[in-house]
């Protein structure tokens, strides 16, 4: 990911050298944060729609636990929090130059993340069998759209994490260059953060 014309001995974890001071971080990190701004707006469209419709038609929603299975989702929420801590442990490991730790924690993150997706698929199948489908009023429409697109983001995240893990096994990361790990970590934690909000407003309210 070197920039054309960049110097070879530059510190890649710093902003591009010889330039006006910008955001004070290297390009990939800045780019990911800017991209997350876009993601915030995407989820604003979905979550905002949910809030607006719910305020307009409060009666279209059921009490927590009545339709949706809270216990299994609570476990899933816990899984995603676990995957965040393994991700951040991987990041801490590579910062310290502990490459075996990096690989170990990345694999853990991939596994827990995939489990989250698996549980969500199971939950969907269960709900659909019970007759709670996307065309089931505003409740079904908003539920499946919000959690579905969150799940889609988790899936993308898992795919990217597998790629990063593969590169970690190739020895592409070190204490001097762990951009890939940090950037995918930011994305992963963001997805976790969105779930924290979604879990509360979809399942508990």
């Amino acid at each position: 990911m070197a920039h054309a014309g960049a110097l070879h001995d530059e510190d890649v974890m710093l902003p591009p050298p010889g330039r006006e001071p910008g955001a004070g971080v290297y390009n990939e990190k800045l780019g990911m944060w800017v991209f997350l701004g876009s993601e915030i707006m995407f989820f604003t469209a979905l979550i905002g729609t949910y809030i607006i419709l719910r305020v307009a038609h409060p009666t279209a929603w059921k009490a927590p636990g009545e339709v949706l299975a809270v216990p299994i989702t609570a476990i899933n929420t816990f899984l995603l929090i676990c995957s965040s801590v393994t991700m951040v442990k991987a990041f801490a490991a590579v910062q310290d130059g502990n490459l075996s730790g990096l690989r170990k924690w990345l694999i853990a993150t991939v596994l827990i993340g995939s489990t989250f997706v698996g549980v969500q698929v199971y939950e969907y199948r269960h709900l659909i069998e019970k007759g709670f489908v996307p065309s089931e009023g505003l409740y079904g429409s908003t539920f499946y759209t919000m959690t579905g697109f969150h799940g889609f983001h988790v899936t993308i995240g898992v795919i990217c994490l597998i790629f990063v893990t593969w590169r970690a096994f190739q020895g592409r990361y070190s204490a001097k260059d762990y951009r890939g790990v940090e950037v995918i970590g930011l994305y992963w934690h963001f997805v976790d953060l969105v779930w924290i909000i979604l879990f509360t407003i979809v399942y508990l309210i």
């Binding site: 006006e20 707006m41 979905l46 759209t145």
Partner: protein, 590 residues
């Protein structure tokens, strides 16, 4: 042409040799990561869509000027669109929809953001390329399938989307209301894909501008084109996902039976409008801000004078970028929206007129006491100021809610938006294309045919769109297939005929531009490094610039509009030219 002095000369001489280019043809011209090639790819794609959108407009104008008469060459269209050359109402609705969609999403927006964002940002800030060249390439190659998906809609059963480019639900989500199912679905998918392309492009631009400015290129030394592209990229970044989210919900309503916008189970048609215009109003500024920025560059160059009030120009751009988020409701005054909200949106809309007015006055101030060169880009840029003023002023009528009650959904709106989008954006695009063409292709466009094209366009353009105000004031609704259905519109039908004939001539005039563009590419005079004697960094490298742009990172010493400076004999002073100690290098800019 004035001679360029030492520092500049050295940089450019080294250029071609150091960056000896060993890439294969495919890597160089097709799957290229070079921002300049990607810019040119966007240029070609969006000019094709501009032409296509124009063709659709001609069919629309035929039907409006000469309702239900067989169209010349209309026989080539299939029975489902125009049997015997007579346009069908369902085809007419598709035409209106797709004219808007192509022009907004596939012509003007990529022309401004995709082409000039890509081409100008790295060159003007002194960077070798974008921060993420491969993502930049992906941005283009995601836009291409989006274009094909959108085109495919014309060939599917039931015809193309016919709910207007705004796709108001529930018309857009129910095939039994619009008569269109597959076309509408393709419309949705195409725009979701295009949204991804725009987001990838814009976060790249933002990162590049924040982090990769050459030393000395302070924020307040950025050319206004870059400032406007920066704010535009932020608007794209934050507005496009709202559209994607809304369209995804619309798509689900159409395909898997959700109920977001259909009222049957509590969905809200107005919610679609709110989401659409929450994106749509920033989109309006996405379509005009880069035009303003590039026109500022060209007007300062043509007037040979520093831009008047650089700081207030920047503040106006930022002001539009912030206020632009709080005015979307003015598209919905008649929608049944809460009238109190209507009042609030009216006040915020009035306020956003102020930064636009500041810009117009500053352009005039720039020309005042100048030494104006009437090169073709400058002609288009001045036309931009003149036409944008009309578009801006006619906006005040609609912002005033009581007057809007009468003119909303009429041809007054059509006139207004075309004065902003055609008279504003497109004239600025013509200015920008003719201005940067020598840098892009290394050849000059013919100035003679450029002038012919300009004057004819200016005349026919006004003949087409100015009378539309009068149609609107007469109560002529937009998007109606046959105005002669209404008795009160029969007296104004001659105006419709005049507009249609002028529109055909306007379209024919654009062929001059197309021919000039293509012929000059191969046969034009070789362009020197700096044909317009401009101050920007892009004019200090060869035309076209080599891969990697700059041999050494340029050092910037001053603001971008130091024309007619008393410290040099020429009337321009490039941003990176070092002056002897005696002369102040950082000229004032406020």
């Amino acid at each position: 042409m004035a001679t360029t002095i030492g520092h500049v000369e050295e940089v450019t001489l080294g250029g071609a040799e150091v960056h000896a280019d060993t890439r294969s043809f495919v890597r160089k011209y097709i799957f290229s990561t070079d921002h300049k090639i990607i810019g040119i790819q966007f240029l070609i794609m969006s000019l094709i869509f501009l032409l296509l959108g124009g063709v659709l407009a001609m069919v629309i104008r035929w039907q409006l000027g000469f309702p239900k008469q067989p169209m010349p060459m209309g026989g080539v269209l299939p029975e489902t669109m125009a049997p015997g050359g007579v346009v069908l109402p369902e085809f007419y609705n598709s035409l209106v929809t797709m004219h808007g969609t192509f022009m907004v999403f596939f012509a003007i927006m990529p022309l401004l953001v995709g082409v000039f964002g890509n081409y100008l940002i790295p060159l003007k800030i002194g960077a070798p390329d974008m921060a993420f060249p491969r993502i930049n390439m992906a941005s283009f190659w995601i836009a291409v399938p989006a274009g094909f998906l959108m085109l495919a809609g014309f060939f599917v059963e039931g015809g193309h989307a016919a709910a207007g480019w705004t796709s108001y639900a529930p018309l857009s989500e129910r095939a039994d209301l619009s008569g269109v199912s597959m076309g509408q679905i393709l419309w949705c998918i195409s725009l979701i894909v295009l949204g991804l392309s725009s987001i990838l492009g814009s976060f790249n631009y933002i990162t590049t501008i924040i982090n990769m400015r050459a030393p000395g290129m302070w924020w307040f030394r950025l050319p206004l084109s870059i400032w406007s592209l920066f704010v535009t990229a932020i608007l794209v970044l934050l507005a496009m996902p709202i559209l994607s989210g809304a369209i995804i919900m619309l798509l689900f309503d159409q395909t898997i039976g959700t109920h977001f916008f259909g009222p049957a189970q509590g969905g809200q048609p107005l919610l679609w409008q709110h989401l659409f215009w929450f994106f749509g109003h920033p989109e309006v500024y996405i379509l005009i801000l880069p035009a303003m920025g590039m026109a500022s560059d060209i007007i300062a160059n043509g007037a040979r004078k520093p831009i008047f009030g650089y700081t207030s120009m920047v503040l106006a751009i930022l002001g539009i970028g912030v206020l632009g988020w709080g005015v979307w409701g003015h598209h919905m005054f008649m929608s049944g929206m809460n009238p109190t909200l209507g009042t609030q949106f009216m006040i915020s809309t009035m306020l956003i007129a102020v930064p636009s007015a500041i810009k117009v006055f500053n352009w005039l101030g720039t020309m005042w006491m100048g030494n104006i060169r009437f090169h073709v880009p400058m002609l288009h840029a001045m036309a931009f100021v003149s036409m944008f003023t009309i578009g801006g002023l006619s906006g005040i009528f609609m912002a005033a809610t009581p007057v809007d009650i009468y003119i909303h959904y009429t041809y007054f709106i059509v006139a207004h938006l075309h004065y902003v989008l055609f008279g504003g954006s497109l004239f600025a695009i013509f200015a920008a294309v003719t201005f940067w063409y020598p840098k892009m292709f290394g050849r000059m466009m013919s100035p003679f045919w450029g002038r012919v094209h300009f004057f004819l366009t200016f005349i026919f353009y006004n003949l087409v769109f100015f009378p539309m105000h009068n149609l609107g004031l007469h109560g002529h609704m937009r998007r109606i297939y046959d105005p002669t259905q209404y008795d009160f519109l029969k007296p104004v039908q001659p105006i419709n005929e005049l507009i249609s004939i002028s529109a055909f001539l306007l379209f024919a005039t654009q062929l001059i531009f197309a021919v000039n563009f293509i012929v000059s590419w191969f046969k034009g005079a070789k362009a020197p490094e700096n044909p317009w004697e401009d101050n920007g960094l892009e004019w200090t490298v060869p035309s076209p610039p080599p891969h990697g742009n700059f041999v050494t990172v340029p050092q910037v010493y001053r603001a971008p509009y130091e024309y007619s400076s008393p410290f040099v004999t020429e009337d321009f002073l490039p941003q990176n030219r070092e002056l002897p100690e005696a002369a102040p290098s950082a000229a004032p800019h406020s």
